[in-house]
Amino acid sequence: MANDDREQPSGLSRRAFLGGTAGGAAALGILARDREAAAAPLKVVSGATPLALKVNGATRTVTVEPRATLARALRDELRLTGTKIGCDRGACGACTVHLDGVAALACTTLAIEVGDREVTTIEGLAPGGKLHVLQQAFVDNDAMQCGFCTPGMVMSCAALLAKTPKPDRATVRAACSGNLCRCGTYPKVFDAVMVASGQKPEGWPLEVRNVAPSAAPPPGTAWVGIAGGSVAAELRTIPENEAKPWPMNPGLAVVGKSTPRLDGKLKVTGEAKYTSDLQLPGMLHARRVVSPHAHAIVKRVDTGKAEKLAGVKATFVVKRQEGATLVDPSTEKSGTYPRIRYAGQCVAAVAATTEDLAEEAARLVEVEYEVLPATTSLEGAMKDGAPLVYPGRVNMGGSAGGGGAARDLAQRGNLRGPAQQSEGNVDAALAGAAMKVSGEFRTQVQTHSPMETHGIVADWRPDKLVVYASTQGTATVRDELAAVFDLPKARIEVKCDFMGGGFGAKFGAGHFGVVAVELSRRAKAPVRLVLDRREQHVAVGNRPSTLQQLTLAADRSGGLAAIDLVAHGTAGIGTGAGVGWAAARLYPTPAVRTRQYDVFTNAGPGAAFRAPGMPQGMFALDQLIDDLAEKLRVDPLDLRDRLDVDAPGGTATQPDRVARRLERRIGADKIGWSRRHANGAEKGPIKTGIGIGTSMWRRIVDMDSACEVRVAKDGSVQLRSSVMDIGTGTRTALAMVLAEDLGLRPEQIDVHIGDTRWPIGPASGGSKTLVGITPAVRQAAHEVKAKLFAAVGKKLGVDAKDLRARGGRVESEKEPAKHLVWRDACAAIATDELAAIASRPNDWGAPPSQGYGGVQFAQVQVDTETGVIRVLKVITMQECGRLINPLAVHSQINGGIIHGISWALFEDRCLDPQSGRVLNANLDTYKVLGARDVPFIEVVLLDQYVGLTNTDAHGIGEPANVPTAAAVANAVYNAIGVRVRELPMTPRTVLAALRGKGRV
């Protein structure tokens, strides 16, 4: 991973520069000064020489060029891939190792600098297969999600403990402050360090509120209700051959109990292999050639010089599809190559025997551009005469393709839309309303920034295509590659054992993925293409920016009369920059109108990002609801209770509304809402405030959810599915569900997931993974158990129908004395193995709503002299169906909140308005929340049953992220009495808002 500056025509990557200067620490210091002078293509220095390194207690010889960093020497030469590369420039800590016991960044240390210092990597922290006390504490405290940052985090903390055996909390945070965790696992990391040092953990409270009944529901019914609310057995049509509903969680042995993740040990030891860690025999390395211009016509691409470079095995030039007719040939000047629409768009690619050669070959590809004027800002793109990103309307002649008339969305210049929703007469309601509140809200572009960048290893073989991908959906990658390369799906294997975060951006193969496969096909060898941090930042997705005008109208009693939303957003050259359905659906309103526009700009495309559109929409809506409450002189929580209804008498029946009404009250007590001061009433320059944010999400069911369960005669049990674990703990949750039904412990289940050779599983996204896959697991368990019980029943002389699996044995319910321990029960199988493949059963009917609730309260401190906001506390109340593993849910909710605060206060992708290039395309300049910024977080989980499936499990990734920025914004208003309607809420925006109201 390198070449952070490749997109800059006169720039150099750090590694290439070091190569040109034959390396040396001093070279780093003159990088900026010599940048322009060194603009000519560089020669690779072939000065690879043997170097002795003392690594993990042994002397190892590596053969590296002087410019090789320690990270590359460890990873590429010694295959010690526990040392990760997240940024390759000293900004993320993923590469942390110890040099003579002191934490050091291996990406900014040259291998030749190490000398005779002792290098310790994560693999050497606790040799002999044992875990260091800190590693064990990480596992026990669930101090990891995707695990990509974990080795670096462990190494930083281990160095701290070696020096300071009993650190205080502030010291722990300081020690982790150079390590970024995009999954937001910091609270658990802090606790793990305290526990490992024999101290009381800081304490990040998780309160699980269960529902009392522990019995199975009566036949033909399922439990419906929520902790703290009413619970009843409701009639359901449950097919005879399906697994029956479980009791509520207190009646279960495994499910609902906090369980450390089964792959924790692999993650804390660096043994977990990510796509970027793979090294296949004969593997080539690919680099892309990307446009430095935001808008251009490619006139010529010449790969000749690159192809002459020894070690280059394949090149690829992106061309127009043969025979493609352009929508407007007069403006497009038909050529061989697609038009360039953003700086960073791929033009060509090369594959070579080493990364350095690939990088050099990419530099040798000559590209001639005709540069065109670009449009890079939302407002600028909407102006008359702005350069057009796309040439104009598509010719929509002919039929609409078999029904469903094409919705002829208007496109004027770069403005596309609106996508509209309308109910009732909004204009009349606004005109006649007793009161109105309105505001303009602005949110910024946020990049996904997973710690593992997008990457793929493609191996085109004569008989099949094998692909290792950092993806959220193995089957989604297979789907695309099958279509693009016209291959049967049966001839494609996509694998993903571990992946370092995605957050919505890693669906499908991606442009880079197709390029890698094509290079592999041409070179007849495996090809690895892992994007560098700049490429990840620029080209593979982001949360689009938005500009919303929102108006709420109310009657005198505070009932909503109308909602009117106009939203503009830009997903660069892509679509989907809307703000979702918060305004239209959160509160029933007689007249609603939403008009949402995409504005095309010459910037990298957006992508789905944790609850697409919803945090943006809620940022506006929740603030205006507070404004309305102020105008009505009612408490904001009371107003929300009044609005969050769906039944006569101001009550609620839909599960999400029932949940939110409970959650607001719990949160109010915990945050001390009754003591909340009037907005802006505190004296002095440093002011505190509290505010509320609201969550909503949709329960999504993906029926492409299947699994296989195998039980062997020796008692071993396997579960297989192509579903992968994005870091949420899916692997462990599946083991827990199966263990529950087989009467085993989760660690007795071997879970094999992330491979399309196994039954199809859902992609991990949209909070739909467990909703889809867990009922399939139970169904497969049900079927395999029926076979097992038939054999055991015969052996015990009891009716198989009376058997149950519990506590590690199979026993007769009527005569518990008649039993076999699990292993002996399995020995009764006539064949060597039993297996069942099950697809997800259908839901047992449809409820009136399948949404999520969720409420968050934030407490902030605002320095009105500097404009700095600190989030002190977030209390979140959330339901997400039946809780499978509260420990992992807790981690995911912490992560959602931390993502939300990071978006609210820090993150902001900056484009140079002239060139359209991203100015902060790495983690040193793109600020994300770090260890020192983490507030106190308290989580209350309400166990909930909706009686729809045999598990009633839901996901949690999305709902936990939706309300945070709104809660912070409302808390800021409560603190300073001035609305900050723009994200990120930086000191600049805060001071501007204060100035606008004459408060500074």
């Binding site: 493609a324 929508v327 796309y390 959906g473 499908g508 892509g574 789905a608 949709r698 069911v701 492409d704």
Partner: protein
């Protein structure tokens, strides 16, 4: 993901170009027609023929336009 698919009467869905993709296009998600109709405001589309958010004809990819009648449409 669609904001318009909650409990609406079923509508006849358009046949889209076989190259059109978005996140919601994957899997077998019930009652999620917004991406096909093109009514979702948050759907990021791309084209498999280019692997970019634009089609081979150089115009943008979207469910409202990747239909029969477009020059690069493939049934």
């Amino acid at each position: 993901m669609s904001e318009t698919t909650h409990h609406r009467p079923r509508v006849e869905l358009p046949v889209l170009c076989k190259w059109l993709r978005c996140k919601s296009a994957f899997g077998a998600v019930e009652d999620d027609t917004g991406w096909r109709e093109g009514t979702s405001s948050t759907e990021a589309y791309w084209c498999l023929a280019t692997m970019e958010p634009f089609g081979p004809d150089d115009d943008h990819a979207h469910a409202t336009v990747c239909r029969d009648g477009r020059r690069c449409y493939r049934p």
